[in-house]
């Protein structure tokens, strides 16, 4: 089956066949990455620009590596501009890139919908590397690849997403991706961090983290940003940690085997205990490894269009 999409802006509306195609392609690229010379000429002659309007280490390095492993010519542009500091408009940036004849653009932006916006001005493919609180499709794809590796299949796997779902693009992409693949998804957070009408998604919602843990095969822990406390989404980091933090004691009490994921960056000791990050339950570093393979697959499939 050929991949029919021109852009990858999100996983909402992407079919299970398409997701499987990306994941299968990623598995073969992962094999490439284990060779002595981990490089293929697949995208030779293609030019890719990475536009990062928000700080990122993992995602940016992962995309750049994926592009280089595929022999593409790449340029990365990163700025810590925000909606407050005004520079050149995104439209002008896009039109300039278009004028320089670029094949693909990878964009990370603080504004939801920024990658959609870019598609109006750019003829090449656009890959969303995270737009505001909207979607982060390649993160969810690498999460699914990692889960498929560990469990063989995603169907009926129970994944609890725990933490700041309201502000999480990773959560949204995973909700669409995992439910499309037949997995069962639950959200767990203080009510203030669950977006309104989240019950209209095909998900379970828990406000008690122990209940979520006892339900789940996998917990996907999300970063808690300290500034959310200032906006009174919860009273204190201390209370969050005590009632929603994933601790060794909590998992011991649940007395079950559970897999721990985290999209990073981790606030160790806030949402997740340090000892658990480095424990045998954690597949956090497998996620990072698979990130490169998944991004190679996405770049390759979109370039064929």
């Amino acid at each position: 089956m050929p991949f029919s999409k021109k852009h990858l802006l999100g996983l909402e509306g992407v079919s299970s066949e398409e997701i499987n195609l990306i994941l299968d392609t990623a598995v073969s690229f992962k094999e490439v990455l284990e060779r002595p010379i981990p490089k293929v000429p697949t995208l030779r002659g293609k030019t890719i620009v990475n536009l990062f309007f928000e700080s990122s280490t993992r995602t940016r390095i992962s995309f750049e590596l994926a592009e280089k492993r595929l022999s593409a010519d790449t340029i990365s542009f990163s700025t810590v501009a925000s909606s407050v500091t005004k520079g050149e408009s995104l439209k002008d940036t896009a039109q300039n890139i278009e004028a320089m004849k670029v094949d693909m653009v990878v964009i990370r932006h603080y504004a939801a919908g920024a990658s959609h916006f870019l598609t109006h001005w750019i003829k090449g493919s656009v890959i969303n590397a995270g737009d505001g609180c909207h979607e982060h499709p390649t993160q969810a794809l690498l999460d699914m690849m990692t889960l498929r590796e560990k469990f063989g299949a995603l169907e009926n796997l129970k994944v609890a997403i725990i933490g700041d779902v309201l502000h999480s693009r990773v959560a949204r992409s995973n909700i669409y991706g995992l439910t499309t693949m037949g997995a069962k998804v639950a959200l767990c957070a203080p009510i203030t961090l669950i977006p309104v009408e989240a019950n209209l998604w095909p998900v379970k919602i828990f406000y008690n983290v122990d209940h979520a843990i006892s339900w789940a095969d996998v917990i996907m822990v999300l970063r808690i940003q300290r500034e959310r406390q200032q906006a009174n989404f919860f009273p204190s980091i201390r209370e969050y940690h005590n009632y929603f933090g994933i601790t060794k004691e909590r998992l011991d009490r649940a007395n079950k085997e559970i897999t721990i994921m985290h999209p990073g960056p981790i606030n160790r000791g806030v949402e997740l205990d340090t000892s658990l990050v480095d424990s045998e339950y954690s597949i956090i570093l497998d996620q990072v490894t698979n990130g490169v393979a998944v991004r190679m697959a996405v770049l390759y499939l979109l370039s064929k269009e």
Binding site: K91, A112, H116, C133
Partner: protein, 448 residues
Amino acid sequence: MKERLKRSYDSKYQQSMNPFKRIENVLLKNGIIIDQEKKKTFQHDILIVKGKIERIGEILEKNFRGEIVDLSGKTVVPGLLDMHVHFREPGREDEETLMTGAAAAAAGGFTGVCTMPNTEPATDNKEIVEFIADKFKNHLVDVYPIAAITIGRYGKQLVEMAELVDAGVAAFSDDGTSVADSQLLKRALEYSRMFDVPIIEHCEDRQLAADGSMNEGYMSTKLGLTGIPSVAEEIIVARNIMLARYTGGKIHIAHVSTAGSVELIRRAKEEGIQVTCEVTPHHFTLTDEAVAAYDTNMKMNPPLRTSKDVEAIIAGLKDGTIDVIASDHAPHSAEEKEVEFITAPFGIIGLETAVGLAITQLVDKNNFSLIEVIEKLSFNPYRVLGLNLPKITEGAKANLTILDTKTEWTVDRNDFKSRSKNSPFHEYKLKGRSDGVLNNNFLFINEE
């Protein structure tokens, strides 16, 4: 016309200022006339002499010297008044001037407009009110300026209301924001009772709305955009109703957008509180699902709500809870709107699509009579502001709008007379439009 050009302080923005034909004697033949008072329609000719309706009946063309307009198949209604428009002069003449806005009003079928005071500087003093009124001297479109409630619209100090009323202000509003200080709004409602002019409130609790950019609901959840909850509007609607009850002042709620607001106003009216309200065509036509592609022309304040809210608004229009249809015409330049959704300013233009949307959505799809709709586009806004009604009767001043209620057309933003193009209805199919307007001895007939 020359005289006006001379007066304009910046001719760059004042081209084609008066595209209207000056005409004193007109014979309108064969139009379907709506008698808004008797709620009847009949077919007749209208003879207008020196700007006054001389006679209604069967009038022979022989011996008539003047313009004869054949209105077979057209409907003649009282001149429409849009009581909520933003013309950006003074301040942002690149987006709209008083004269380009007036041209958009005339093209849209409106013979009167109320300009909102969020100009730069704010319309909070006599000089700016006179500046606005002066531009409309000897013009087809009547202007009834609305002045700010507080100086600079900062919500701190009352404007000189008495002097402003004397200067011709029709109402007061800090539109764009609510008066957050309840004590100050209470004083404004009390003080304004001396002049019997309404206080118009944009109802929005600033903290609840915070940095939201669309309705809070499943769509904002999916799109990852911060929501503006319906309660941000309703809490201020409720406060304002209570203040109106307490003070006996007149409150008019601008652009109602939620089912809860409609219900609050319905109950207040049952109680006999002096509250009136308006709704925009986009709020009775579109829902927040229109935001799905992050189109910034779907971004306005209050935001597009859900289908339940649209249903409640249509029910409110039907049962009389909602008095007025007003466009909240808010021009923005392309460079301001062609940005990320969260960065774009709120607001869309609406003068040239309002009539088409009202006929399409209300008459055609929801079984309103044309008379019901015209009531909300003409007589009711005049009533809310305590102004004389533009009656189509012998002896009255001729102030009327000519409608084509049947033609289907496709909106093309490039045809707009407005200087800005930020309409969510570009390429939208509508039924019915204004064919022309006649007022103050000027006649304007839409091309084509």
